[in-house]
Symmetry: C2
DNA sequence: TGAGACATGTAATCGGTTACATGATTCC
DNA sequence: GGAATCATGTAACCGATTACATGTCTCA
């Protein structure tokens, strides 16, 4: 795990998508508006500046088509450096803070993992994820007691929703581990 | 549902907390660092400016203690206008976009609902939430098929996690509805 | 030739992050 | 009197949102 990083989750999504196949900003916007791929802003004011930043950082490379016109099309492809950073970020360990604050980003990392890194890395990721969630849940349960003691009925219920979310994610991770290990038939959601 | 609103989720959390009892910025920071109350930045650079904005907007009112010193303590209490806005925001219907992009904010709204509005409003909220989730899941399932057709193994799994999260939330909501209606004993998470 | 999809951009504004700075009170 | 905790703030920077602006291609 190195310290190299990327500013935002949006950038990670862009880097991951562009690493699968070269794309224009418009293609990215289409993906963000028409698929559940993360829920990223498809606003041009977010995507085009992000592409320029990443190009300036050497992570992607733009190729201009129709360059003579006033409305050229630019297709971006990932560079070796971009692939390096992406692989590096996808290899990061799953931390407590990831689980608390960035669960969606973790899922994004997982979604891009199989193309660039092996099944083993996916498995390690899932085991770490499960471990971090299992460490976190008791803390949430203690606060659930506190909410109840204070008579915060809805506060307690809302916490229960959080716990249910983490439990469902841990159960999902365990199921996927079994499937990836071949100990269980695959693909029945 | 009026159009009046507040800029950020952080502001909603602050308004809700301050509406329960007057608090200083420091008190808020402590809550954000030591409890799972949302996961808000406890950074002074976020909280103190937010308090000033909300005071300027007339939603809260600061009371300075120790005003003669260079390090006064300011305790903020909600104003009538603040209560009005909060009640209004808590009464908003649950929309598709809320479910897709702001599930955590929905839970925050729910957590503050019982103090200011009746059990009936909580029940309506939960029914709307369940309905919006049930409408959303088939869309996610269709995209799950697309991921599988494209051979995106991890992509499909990541989507399954999303679906599992929504299913767990819908199940939670249905359970809470029954408990609030008295059709089921309460409080066993 | 017009509609609709394709395609990229900018400017103003705003809130959050990070890092830094500093003072007050309590209690041993 | 020193440590820990209480307590508030600011400045630089940055990325996202919103709204606006505009050009290009395809096909009926």
């Amino acid at each position: 795990m190195s310290r190299r990083s990327i500013p935002s989750t949006l950038s990670l999504a862009i880097l991951g998508l562009v690493s699968r196949e070269p794309m224009s900003g418009y293609d990215l916007r289409k993906i963000f508006t028409t698929t559940p791929m993360g829920h990223f802003s498809a606003s041009p004011g977010a995507i085009y500046p992000a592409l320029r930043r990443m190009e300036a950082a050497g992570l992607i490379e733009g190729n201009t088509e129709r360059g003579d016109t006033l409305r050229p099309r630019r297709t971006y492809a990932v560079t070796d450096e971009g692939i390096g950073l992406l692989k590096d970020m996808l290899s990061w360990p799953v931390t407590h803070n990831d689980v608390v604050w960035r669960l969606e980003e973790l899922m994004l990392r997982f979604a891009f993992m199989d193309g660039l890194l092996g099944r083993k890395v996916s498995l390690r990721f899932l085991r770490e994820l499960t471990a971090r969630i299992m460490e976190y849940i008791p803390y949430l349960r203690r606060h659930l007691e506190v909410q109840r003691e204070h008579g915060r009925v809805n506060g307690a219920y809302a916490l229960e929703q959080g716990i249910a979310k983490y439990e469902a994610t841990a159960a999902w991770a365990e199921r996927v581990i079994e499937e990836l290990e071949g100990r269980r038939p695959r693909g029945l959601s």
